[in-house]
Subunit: 296 residues, 2 copies
């Protein structure tokens, strides 16, 4: 009998989430570990999956949704590796090969956000959309694009947080926290950028605090540029900052204002265009499952 | 014998370019007419193609690359029509049906810029690129995206000119000429925006004039957001403003500066990422040919 068992890895900068799942999304095992040195982290993950394999049987495939930048080009000799990252010790780490070697099965490898849009398209908030994007706002800002069921890679992969938004009139001075670009979107609207300006997560600031409008304004700029460049019919927002009550509604209002009736959203409406993640905290691990299923 | 003859229409806001071509790109007939009232313009085009048909034989298909906004969704009842346009008399005009009815053959219908990226991908500067964009800068600013050989439509179609760039430090005041958004990219960097600021086309301003740097800065913002959202491996620039000597080089330099080493362009280089249109003034009509060939 063909195996319907998948090893799923959500490789994050601070933690790895591991899961063993069936193709029907049932998670049979789950484990969380801190991201330490690459060798140690990978060895712990392999040990977890080896135990699961002994109990449940062989894996059909492994899926890895990883923090980036990563080499996700299957034709590249560097495929499966983390590319230059500020994270100490991880630049050049081959994430895919150790799992392929140990479990002798195909490995699906992509960015965490590409994995998330794949899962949201398969099982969640992007279902049925021909052109959809996923944006996560947390420690960083990232995103993925799906077109006709296929995730876009291009030259490397999207890096949604690193375009430069127009400044909010009440936020003209803050230099931004991105080490590369200062006041790019991630530099202005990520969790650390919010913390740096207001000393608190967005969700802890009172409803009337101007931070809510300012952050929604910046995230709406990304929606605006996505509309200009891609014309998506669905934009899915996830990540820790999006847990802030009312933020999705504020992004909708700000995007609607910025578009000024352009882009043909009238029939659809901004409530249908911009939606919260349906998979929430599961998007990462389910994304890894979708990658594994596609790699089988 | 199957016909290898195609009727090609580049429908512009000020002129229609008509062509009759073989699949090998040979243009056998060509005609240019001013865009007047819809009925008159369409009747003149039909008369031209009817004469060509009498002399050369039946068409395999008609291709129409049009100014927008247009309904390019084949599943929509409004497919083939111009959508609300400021151009008097043209809102709601059905461009595709009269040609389908008269020449009894399939009609390919898309925006002029989607047609252009298709042609540049098939025969020009975007050849071989998995994710490529085309940007035209002239009376307006528009663009198209091709992924894996397929043009992206999404909710409607991209409108590349209508995102908002960060202001150039030496251009803080100009309100912009876009009737919808004021200082969007089109409002700041299109031909009319250049004319409004400096009283002259960009190509007539001396090499040291700050307009060159300012316009390159704005167009580089579009490249930056395309990199953030799509990670293209080729960005093709065309249109009247791009005839300005040195502008492509300035856009490359400004995009490189704005990216600050991000986006993984290092291997490729900005000279290979950002390129001028290879088809130039032919991109529109060849785009219509590509649409016709795809519709056959």
């Amino acid at each position: 009998m063909t195996s319907d068992l998948f090893a799923c890895i959500e490789a994050g900068g601070t933690k790895f989430m591991l899961g063993v799942a069936r193709g029907d999304r049932r998670m049979l095992r789950q484990h969380r570990l801190p991201t330490t040195a690459p060798e140690e982290t990978i060895a712990t993950a392999i040990a977890f999956f080896a135990t699961a394999e002994a109990e449940l049987g062989r894996f059909a495939a492994v899926g890895i949704g990883t923090f980036g930048p990563a080499d996700v080009d299957p034709t590249s000799p560097g495929w499966g590796r983390i590319v230059d990252t500020p994270k100490p010790g991880w630049s050049g780490t081959d994430l895919a090969a150790p799992f392929a070697a140990r479990f002798r099965c195909p490995v699906g490898f992509d960015t965490d956000v590409n994995a998330a849009i794949l899962a949201e398209h398969r099982w969640g908030a992007a279902a049925g959309a021909d052109v959809a994007t996923y944006v996560t706002v947390g420690t960083g800002i990232g995103g993925g694009v799906i077109v006709g069921g296929m995730v876009i890679h291009g030259l490397r992969h999207p890096e949604m947080g690193h375009g430069s938004p127009v400044r909010h009139p009440r936020d003209p001075e803050f230099a931004g926290v991105c080490p590369f670009h200062g006041a790019c979107l991630e530099g202005l609207a990520s969790g650390p950028a919010i913390q740096a300006r207001w000393g608190s997560p967005l969700s802890d600031l009172p409803d009337g605090h101007e931070a809510h409008e300012i952050i929604a304004f910046y995230l709406a700029q990304l929606v605006l540029w996505q509309q200009a460049i891609l014309s998506p019919s669905r934009v899915v927002f996830g990540g820790g900052v999006l847990a802030t009550p009312g933020l999705v509604a504020r992004i909708r209002a700000a995007a609607d204002r910025a578009a000024a009736g352009y882009f043909g959203v009238d029939r659809l409406g901004y409530d249908a265009l911009i939606v919260p993640s349906a998979l929430g905290g599961e998007a990462g691990l389910l994304g890894a499952l979708a990658l594994a299923m596609a790699a089988r």
